[in-house]
Symmetry: C2
């Protein structure tokens, strides 16, 4: 059976969980004890020497990197979440990069500096924090404009680009990033978060963390 290794605090892990849920795949989920250092133990490092979540095991095949996992699972199961058409796929790929290389990185910076550093007793890097907030403002405005014109991130139907994007934006409330001025983006988030595939994982990112 498909096995998914992750942690609720990890947006990339949640991204994979949403995808597995949307694809309705029978699977076992294992929460890696990051606080206890399980990711640096021999068993986990045999799966991913980088000690990072998420990882999947699909039979003998082990795969890391959340975006690669989404593409692999959606392709394997011939899902409309990642259609075979060349241009449709290019457009989805583009928005997945936007989520992972731009918006997700910026949100990560804010999360690190406002939330995670507190847990480990470090002071925030105010300049890095400011840079992250500035990039979220820019990229968020662009995504908002795009979503004024269509219902989903990459077009008229749900795709793995929506799943990647919702996971990238999940930490917003916890990281005190106010997205409410982005009306279309906020409406899209609300729609996605009301969908069964999301609700079946959790009601919202913060809820699972008990915050």
């Amino acid at each position: 059976m498909l096995k998914v290794y992750g942690h609720p605090f990890s947006s990339p892990s949640n991204k994979v969980r949403y995808a597995v849920s949307a694809l309705e795949l029978e699977h076992a989920f294992h929460t890696v004890d990051l606080a206890g250092g399980e990711q640096r133990g021999a068993a986990f490092m045999a799966l991913n020497p980088m000690s990072r979540v998420p990882v999947i095991q699909d039979g003998d095949f082990t795969l890391t990197e959340s975006d690669a996992i989404l593409r692999y699972l959606a392709t394997k199961h011939k899902s409309d979440l990642f259609p075979g058409d060349l241009m449709a796929r290019a457009n989805i790929d583009r928005w997945m990069s936007f989520a992972s290389v731009h918006l997700g990185q910026s949100m990560g910076r804010v999360m690190f500096n406002r939330v995670l550093y507190k847990f480990i007793g470090q002071e925030p890097d105010e300049r890095s924090l400011a840079f992250g907030l500035k990039m979220i403002a820019t990229d968020g405005a662009h995504l908002n404009k795009v979503l004024e014109g269509r219902e989903f991130v990459a077009g008229d139907t749900l795709s793995i680009a929506d799943i990647a994007m919702i996971a990238a934006l999940d930490p917003a409330e916890l990281a005190q990033v106010d997205l409410s001025d982005f009306k279309a983006l906020s409406a899209w988030r609300k729609r996605i978060m009301a969908m069964a595939f999301y609700q079946n994982v959790h009601t919202h990112f913060g809820a699972e963390l008990g915050m």
Copy 2:
């Protein structure tokens, strides 16, 4: 004809140029005058409202985000650089994410703080710089170990993962990131940079910048 918009200072732009070169595609390259603000002009923003390079125009189809462009071009031209097999593709996708989401982001941090900030008269953010260097040390060691066991990043043949990775690492010398302890990684870089597809773009990243 295929049109590529980029700038020699941009690793993602060079990534696309290497791919176009490896695929031997007839194309026109336009250097976007980033210093002069062309990326914020109406003509360029019609192509990419995010004002970022690279962008390609393939007939009526406009595409941004370097990794999406590599996948699109290699798929369209049925290239062995991105084979159709599910697991081969997943493995390439995995290493492309490793290049863009991890190693490339860290190298970007170092480049910003050691090189680009000087150009715009800003002080480096020492903490962000240190974080970038630490991540390069970790991710570089992992990649080095992988390359001890095989000739190319994702297996026994050249793929778009090698192209993504070489572009991510291109700024190393300019950013004074010493990779020489990573013997297998350094040997791989030397091999890739000696290949015709790379040489046809430039002899090395720094050379084109006149540094």
